[in-house]
């Protein structure tokens, strides 16, 4: 039965849903009346929250004639404070993207060729349930994996666990902040979290290790940094590239890529050697200080200077600058930290330098986040995974890795594949996991793939069933109460009705559960019933939430004076980690020099454009209008040597002969000579993404090599080298 389907060809989707809603995306109000600057009087203003990235800012959707014509930040939402980042502002483009998924689709074989068939929801869900049950019967529930990123994933996690699988992974772990969370958990017993628990607005000095705030556009984070800046906070930016935040920094340290741990150890060396660390904090709260002091004894700025290419005096000066402002000073923990494979150790080094600055639970350092707890739906059966524990290969991991799920989906030598079906919610895995080709191979090998998405993203091309979700402006979702400076709960509610035959995630998960005989895990009638009951239990008003979009709870203290009691085994800040030692890993962060690029090669670095979120927005009509494609940054001197001019198109080829491009060259002084840089998320490959298709280049394709983090399995991706040549149009 699964025979003709387990090798699937890449299907391009919207050919079926051809009659695309045309008409410009700016069409609403594009009449003289509005342009005459009388403004539009909205029929209603609906508070909800954003899904253009994973930060979840509160937005106000202005609706006129059942069309959302603008989004503003919700002043009552603590994450937005009435402001939005560019992506959130362009969110209407996600709703009115004419290329959206519009109907459920099922893969069929016609005359030996794969094709899409438009299906009813009932048919698509019945079929999905049948296939999932088949896989479960044959290989066990754990062989079904869920990839999930984004707020709506919660319902699918419940469904997954109800089915008996704990194979739940996210690219936001081992391709993103996993090492940071593990590093901080090892040191402080707590993760940094998203929203990061850094007290930026009150800081007097911040060191950014690569974090390119301002390009990395998490709304509240940017507001906070700006506030600190306005108040005269000193910024130190460590980045091989002169980022936007580097431009606002007192110190820019153009570090040789991959050598940050050397710098951090040298900072620790200066702090300890010059007795600049927070003595009282360290005495009260730290274990392993003496071992650590001995460990960094020889890690002088002069030593680090050789590794990092930085001026030892600047290393010293910046350490003193941090110390001078401690404890209202911190080294930013970063976010996307899977760089060179030794990332948990680098995150540990960051955590430890912060320990020396004594800033945990201190004003201007790391605050203690608050959460507004809303109980679950009364009487819902708690989902459980079977007795199975995820087969984690990494010593200190708490979550399986997305990368390992992809690997385990392919037969490897004598080992049979352990994963046989995927459910993918809001992850565009071919562009998100390193090594696109490998991911595609895995998807070919699977028995069954079901994708829940809003766009004909690359991942949908390899699915057996595509379930189109409503965009965030057309749906209810689970409540949102991220740990933050103030406790709050926020609501996502539809601003307009579904434009097409698409459904909200809660409905898809619940309906699928019913088909799978798991209805007792979703005992509520619909989202409103579910939300109302939860809120009632928490004594919160659903009506108020619908009206205001967010409710802020009573504030509790976020700083802790005096000695701390942490969740680490020792209840203290662990400069020396016994847990790591027990796992035969270095108990204190070690510096490992990065591999040098072969001659003629540049190290490939990548990051964010303020206007885009990965591949999530690179077809968004409003956002692509502003930034239609990415550029390749190259140092002016290197461009001169290679005879390449600003604005020409170039091709990239990596060490494994994988090519991407063409991409426009940006010749600039703002980057070191040994690396090139581009924004992630471009170089789309499905022709039905009419705006994104082949615009710019894909960094993901070039990441054919990774360096695994031995602690938690993060996939270090900054370890690829490329050559650049002029693109010749033929």
């Amino acid at each position: 039965m699964s025979q003709p389907l387990n090798r699937r060809s890449f299907l391009k989707i919207t050919g079926l849903a051809a009659a695309a809603a045309s008409g410009g995306v700016w069409s609403l109000g594009a009449n003289s009346a509005q342009a005459n600057d009388v403004g539009v009087v909205p029929d209603r203003v609906v508070p909800t929250f954003c899904e253009l990235c994973f930060w979840k800012c509160g937005v106000l959707a202005y609706v006129k004639d059942e069309k959302v014509y603008k989004l503003e930040g919700n002043p009552k939402h603590p994450l937005s404070n009435g402001k939005l980042c560019p992506r959130g502002t362009g969110g209407v483009g996600a709703l009115y993207d004419p290329d959206r998924l519009k109907h459920p689709l099922i893969r069929t074989t016609v005359n030996g060729k794969d094709e899409w068939r438009q299906a009813s929801w009932d048919e698509a869900l019945t079929y999905t349930a049948k296939r999932l049950n088949e896989v479960k019967a044959k290989y066990g529930a754990e062989s079904i994996a869920l990839f999930s990123h984004g707020h709506g994933g919660a319902f699918f996690k419940t469904l997954m666990k109800a089915m008996g699988s704990s194979t739940i992974v996210a690219p936001s772990n081992d391709q993103c902040r996993g090492p940071r969370e593990t590093g901080f958990e090892l040191t402080y017993g707590e993760v940094v979290g998203s929203v990061e628990n850094i007290d930026t607005p009150h800081a007097k000095c911040i060191a950014f290790i690569g974090s390119h705030v301002g390009e990395n556009m998490h709304n509240t984070a940017v507001q906070d940094v700006s506030e600190a800046n306005a108040r005269g906070c000193t910024f130190i930016t460590v980045d091989p590239r002169f980022s936007i935040i580097a431009g606002k920094s007192k110190y820019w340290l153009p570090i040789k890529p991959g050598t940050d741990t050397a710098l951090l150890l040298a900072w620790a060396n200066v702090l300890i050697d010059e007795k600049l660390y927070q003595r009282e904090f360290v005495e009260q709260n730290v274990v392993g200080f003496d071992q650590f002091a001995a460990h960094v004894k020889d890690k002088t700025p002069e030593w680090a200077a050789i590794e990092t290419g930085l001026d030892p005096n600047v290393i010293r000066e910046t350490a003193r600058e941090l110390a001078k402002n401690a404890p209202s000073a911190f080294v930013h923990p970063g976010r996307h930290v899977v760089w060179y494979g030794n990332d948990t150790q680098r995150s540990r080094a960051i955590a430890i330098v912060n320990g020396l600055l004594g800033n945990w639970a201190k004003k201007g350092g790391f605050y203690q986040p608050q959460t507004l707890n809303v109980p679950g739906y009364p009487g819902a059966k708690a989902p459980h995974a079977d007795s199975y524990k995820p087969r984690l290969t990494f010593p200190v991991a708490t979550m399986p890795c997305a990368y390992d799920v992809a690997q385990a989906s392919v037969k490897d030598g004598a080992d049979d594949a352990r994963i046989h079906a995927w459910m993918v919610y809001g992850c565009n895995v071919p562009l998100t996991l390193p090594n696109t080709e490998k991911t595609i191979e895995a998807m070919h090998a699977l028995d069954f793939v079901v994708v829940v998405d809003t766009m004909p993203a690359e991942v949908t091309g390899y699915a057996d069933v595509v379930l189109p979700e409503n965009t965030y402006l057309e749906r209810y979702d689970d409540l949102e109460s991220t740990p933050f400076r103030v406790p709050y709960v926020a609501l996502r509610q539809p601003a307009v009705a579904s434009l097409y035959d698409t459904k909200p995630g809660w409905w898809i998960a619940k309906s699928l559960a019913e088909k799978l005989g798991l209805a007792e895990y979703f005992p509520w009638k619909d989202a409103e019933d579910y939300l109302a009951a939860r809120l009632a239990k928490a004594n919160l008003s659903f009506d108020q939430l619908k009206r205001d979009g967010a409710i802020v709870g009573p504030a509790a203290p976020i700083y802790t004076p005096g000695p701390l009691t942490l969740k680490t085994p020792s209840t203290k800040v662990e400069f020396f980690s016994q847990k790591l030692a027990d796992a035969n890993l270095p108990p204190m962060p070690e510096y490992e020099p990065p591999e040098e690029p072969p001659t003629g090669y540049f190290r490939l670095l990548f990051g964010r454009s303020p206007v885009h979120t990965f591949s999530r927005t690179t077809n968004n009509p409003r956002l692509t209008e502003i930034v239609p494609e990415n550029e390749l940054w190259m140092n002016t001197e290197m461009a001169r040597v290679l005879g390449l001019k600003h604005g020409v198109k170039v091709m990239l080829e990596n060490q494994d002969s994988v090519k991407t491009g063409p991409i426009v060259l940006k010749v600039t002084q703002r980057i070191r000579q040994d690396c090139v840089y581009m924004v992630h998320g471009f170089g789309r490959e499905d022709a039905r993404l009419r705006r994104g298709y082949r615009r710019g280049a894909s960094d993901a394709r070039l990441i054919t090599r990774i360096k695994r983090d031995p602690v938690m399995g993060g996939t270090g991706m900054n370890v690829n080298f490329v050559t650049i040549s002029r693109w010749k149009e033929r």
């Binding site: 209008e625 502003i626 930034v627 001019k645 600003h646 604005g647 600039t668």
Partner: protein
């Protein structure tokens, strides 16, 4: 008033107009040639009408112009035609207003052609405006006397009325009144025309246009094109009628025009060199780059080839060289001058805008980058290519001017009797 229509309109001539387009086997070759040319002109005019219609209905997105290059070949054509009109008016007035006998026989034709080309200029301008219908209303209801273009509109309005009156009195052979109207139209023309110059020249934002030399330059080039057109009018009608006697009679006229053209051309060269020197010296941002674009950059061919070689060197050689007595040489010179004038107008309009006001590389070597990206190329020049619609409108308008003039020669009693009969 009792209008002497019979003096003005030659009903026979009018009835013979359709004949102009019908080539008969009996036609002598020169006449057949002329007729075929007219057929082409009619076809072009029709195409231009269609294009004009499209432009009026669809607005600017059928044009090659952009938000950065606001004015394109249509404005250049308007300027070209307005310059021609002014030039014709000025040169003809040398005859009847200032009593310079030699050019007197040309007066009616010159004034008539001045009217035709100005009206064609207006027609082209109308297609270029986004809302020409609103113009008439708001320019009167909501005038802005601080705007040079408002005055330009006013004076061209007065001017067109005055030259129609002038023509009328010329037909009535009332030379006194004709001269008075003529004098008035000369003033109106100069006023309108220097305001056109001021539309460009007062634009401080556009360094290439800005400057006190511009109105002088405009007047000089008007005189030159007026003379060149009259030269063509005389020699071409001779060419198509192939009348030897007429040709002999015209010889002093051609000779006079030749000298006039040569003189104006030399004045123009002086002013142009002066402008060039001012453009390069001082390295004034905007002016310098654009001047260099002409001297060594993307406009190299149209500048050196059209403006200098075909517009100055060859005509001067033709007019002053050993061939100077040949009317073929003189008319060729006039023809080349008109071609080069047209190119010059297009260049002039484009050059004023080609250098983006948003810098790409600054004076201290800084690099500016804009988002959303503006359409400048790495050298900082903005591109403009006329669209088909624009080109057809231009071709149609110029064809129409020639055509209406030719028909006018037949239908009105213009010029020497021999021509109209």
């Amino acid at each position: 008033m009792n209008i002497p229509w019979n003096d003005i309109i030659d009903r026979d001539g009018l009835s013979r107009v359709p004949d102009l387009l019908r080539v008969r086997p009996s036609d002598p070759p020169h006449q057949a040639r002329g007729k075929r040319l007219l057929q082409v002109l009619v076809a072009t005019l029709l195409a231009g009408l269609v294009a004009g219609g499209i432009a009026l209905v669809q607005g600017h997105h059928v044009m090659g112009t952009t938000s950065e290059i606001s004015w394109g070949i249509l404005i250049a054509t308007y300027v070209f035609l307005a310059v021609s009109s002014t030039g014709l008016c000025l040169v003809s007035s040398i005859g009847h207003v200032f009593g310079f006998k030699l050019f007197e026989p040309l007066a009616k034709r010159a004034v008539f052609l001045a009217i035709v080309s100005l009206l064609m200029g207006f027609a082209v301008m109308a297609t270029e405006l986004e809302s020409p219908l609103k113009m008439a209303r708001w320019i009167l209801v909501s005038p802005n006397p601080r705007a040079p273009i408002w005055w330009m509109g006013m004076f061209y309005g007065i001017y067109v009325v005055l030259i129609v009156v002038e023509l009328f009195f010329l037909f009535k052979d009332d030379h006194r009144r004709a001269s008075m109207a003529g004098l008035g139209s000369v003033f109106a023309a100069v006023e309108a025309y220097s305001n056109l110059g001021a539309v460009f020249g007062s634009s401080h934002a556009r360094p290439f246009w800005y400057g006190p030399l511009l109105p002088i330059y405009f007047i000089a080039s008007a005189l030159l094109s007026g003379a060149a057109i009259l030269m063509l009018v005389v020699t071409l009608s001779d060419f198509f009628t192939n009348d030897r006697q007429l040709k002999a009679e015209h010889a002093p006229l051609v000779e006079g025009l030749r000298k006039l053209i040569a003189l104006f051309l030399m004045i123009m060269v002086l002013i142009s060199v002066w402008r060039l020197v001012l453009g390069i010296s001082g390295e004034f941002t905007g002016k310098y780059e654009v001047t260099m674009a002409a001297l060594t950059g993307p406009l190299f061919v149209s500048f050196w080839g059209f403006e200098v070689l075909l517009g100055i060197v060859v005509p001067l050689v033709l007019l002053l060289g050993p061939w100077r007595t040949s009317w073929r040489a003189s008319s060729l010179a006039a023809f080349l001058l008109m071609i080069s004038f047209f190119v010059m107008r297009v260049n002039f309009v484009y050059q004023g805008q080609m250098f983006s006001l948003k810098p790409v590389i600054g004076q201290m070597g800084e690099r500016y980058s804009y988002q959303p990206p503006f359409k400048g190329n790495p050298e900082g020049f903005l591109a403009y290519t006329p669209s088909i619609v624009e080109v057809l409108i231009v071709a149609g308008a110029i064809s129409a001017a020639i055509l209406f003039f030719t028909v006018g020669l037949r239908a009105l009693r213009l010029g020497p009797k021999e021509v109209s009969s």
